[in-house]
Symmetry: C2
Subunit: 118 residues, 2 copies
């Protein structure tokens, strides 16, 4: 049987920002937790939406047209192909769902974080 | 631009248990919130996994072999084809992700809840 996933316990196991960890799978998607602190690179995912759910802290998703401000319990789906840059000045913990194999740096040209299961 | 989704605010808008509301979409999936109180019908989804995240309260996912006990911040993916019955004696609020069009009653023969967006 699959195990339940305690998201807070998984997040307590690492510190690095912008290094998502895979905590499970849903169909062809990877379910990840991540910490955000500072700002990531501008990128988009040409082939998939990107699901963000804030678990703690405060997250800004910068879009080219405007910023989306998210707190705990706020969910946002970045549509496929839309450039975005996650940022948090004070830190945030998030749940992130994307298809397995999706590079976290999208089409930016930056080196993606290897996919790591915890 | 898509709007952010405040899950607690969406859940405050209705009372009925086992009547999921669609709050957004991620690729071909519907993102839903639902209230659980009492027990649902035994069912499975032959073609898809079923993602549960508990937002508040206490949720039991009964499986034929054992029960999975979930509290706030616990996530569980019921594998495709696995019979399950969600239950909560004291009530729970959950996030639920399944492909759009998936009947919430699965293969049970029970009438599914119509898909409603809020």
């Amino acid at each position: 049987m699959r195990e339940k996933v305690d998201l807070a316990a998984k997040l307590a196991g690492f510190e690095e920002a912008f290094r998502p960890r895979i905590v499970g799978y849903y169909n062809d998607d990877k379910i990840q937790v991540a910490k955000v602190k500072g700002e990531f690179v501008w990128h988009s995912h040409p082939d998939t939406d990107d699901l963000f759910l804030v678990l703690s802290g405060s997250l800004t998703i910068e879009l080219r047209a405007e910023n989306v401000q998210l707190g705990p319990g706020d969910l946002y789906v970045v549509p496929r192909g839309v450039e975005h840059r996650p940022r948090s000045d004070d830190g945030a913990e998030i749940l992130l769902i994307e298809p397995a194999g999706t590079p976290n740096t999208g089409d930016s040209g930056a080196e993606p974080t290897p996919e790591v299961e915890i």
